[in-house]
C-alpha cells in the first residue's frame, strides 16, 4: 500500500504511537493515507480502536519482520 506520509514509532510503547499518530494526522489532507511503523504489538488492537473512536479509517496492517505497519486513511479534519 502506498502511503502519503510515514510515522516512525519503532521503539515506542503505548500510548506514544497513538499520541504521535493523533498529532501527525493533522499534517495530512482528507483522503490521504498515513503509514505508522511500530514494534509494540499493542498497536494491532490500539490503532483500530483509535480509528473507531476518531472516525478515521484503518485500512489494514502488515508485519514486516518485527515491525507492524498500519495504514490509516484520514476521513475528516
Amino acid at each position: 500500500m502506498k502511503a502519503d506520509k510515514t510515522l516512525d514509532c519503532v521503539g515506542l510503547y503505548c500510548p506514544m504511537p497513538i499520541v504521535k499518530t493523533a498529532a501527525k494526522i493533522k499534517e495530512l489532507k482528507v483522503g490521504e493515507i498515513l503509514e505508522i511503523q511500530a514494534d509494540d504489538k499493542g498497536i494491532k488492537l490500539d490503532m483500530p480502536a483509535w480509528c473507531q473512536t476518531t472516525g478515521h479509517e484503518c485500512l489494514g496492517m502488515e508485519e514486516v519482520g518485527k515491525e507492524i505497519h498500519v495504514y490509516v486513511r484520514k476521513k475528516h479534519d
Partner: protein
C-alpha cells in the same frame, strides 16, 4: 466522527508515581482519541502536580509541619511497591528511559499541551494549606466537587485512581 466531544474524567487521589503514570497515560491517550479530558487531583494526588522547587508557604503550625513531611513534587513520588527508600523510583525511571517512555514530567507537560485540564481540588488544598502557586504552571485552575461531578455526569468514562 463524534458530533460532540466525548468526555473522560479522572480522579487522581493517589500520590504514587506508578498510579500517576497510569492516570497520565490514559489522559494523553484519551486526548489523542479526541476526548475532552479532565484530571481532578485530590488528597495525595496533589503531590504529583506540586512544584518541585519551591517550599509551600502555608499558615499555622500543623499545616507547616504537614507540608514539610508531605512535600510532594513529581521528583519526590514513591512507588506503591518496591519503593526501597527511593531506589525503586530511580530504577523504574531508568527502565522507562530504556523503552523510550516519557517521564512523569514529560507526561504532565504533554497532557497540558494536548488540552487535558489539570484541576486541583479546592477543599483538599484548603485542608492542606496549599495556595494556588504551590502548583506547577501546567495546572488549569482549582475546582470543587460540584465541578467534578458535573464533568463526571457528562463523561462516558470516569476513573478513580
Amino acid at each position: 466522527m463524534m458530533a460532540e466531544k466525548e468526555k473522560l474524567t479522572i480522579v487522581l487521589f493517589s500520590g504514587e508515581l506508578d498510579k500517576a503514570l497510569a492516570a497520565f497515560m490514559l489522559a494523553t491517550t484519551g486526548a489523542s482519541m479526541g476526548m475532552d479530558v479532565t484530571i481532578f487531583f485530590t488528597f495525595w494526588g496533589l503531590n504529583v502536580i506540586k512544584k518541585n522547587e519551591a517550599k509551600v508557604k502555608s499558615k499555622g503550625f500543623l499545616r507547616k509541619m504537614f507540608n514539610i513531611v508531605n512535600r510532594g513534587g513529581s521528583k519526590r513520588l514513591k512507588l506503591t511497591h518496591f519503593n526501597m527508600l527511593g531506589m525503586g523510583p530511580v530504577m523504574i525511571g531508568k527502565l522507562m528511559k530504556e523503552i523510550n517512555m516519557p517521564s512523569i514530567d514529560e507526561f504532565i507537560t504533554m497532557a497540558q499541551e494536548m488540552g487535558v485540564k489539570l484541576m486541583p481540588c479546592t477543599t483538599t488544598c484548603g485542608l492542606m494549606g496549599l495556595p494556588e502557586d504551590a502548583f506547577r504552571s501546567e495546572v488549569t485552575s482549582l475546582a470543587g466537587a460540584a465541578f467534578f461531578l458535573n464533568e463526571a455526569r457528562q463523561s462516558k468514562v470516569t476513573l478513580f485512581i
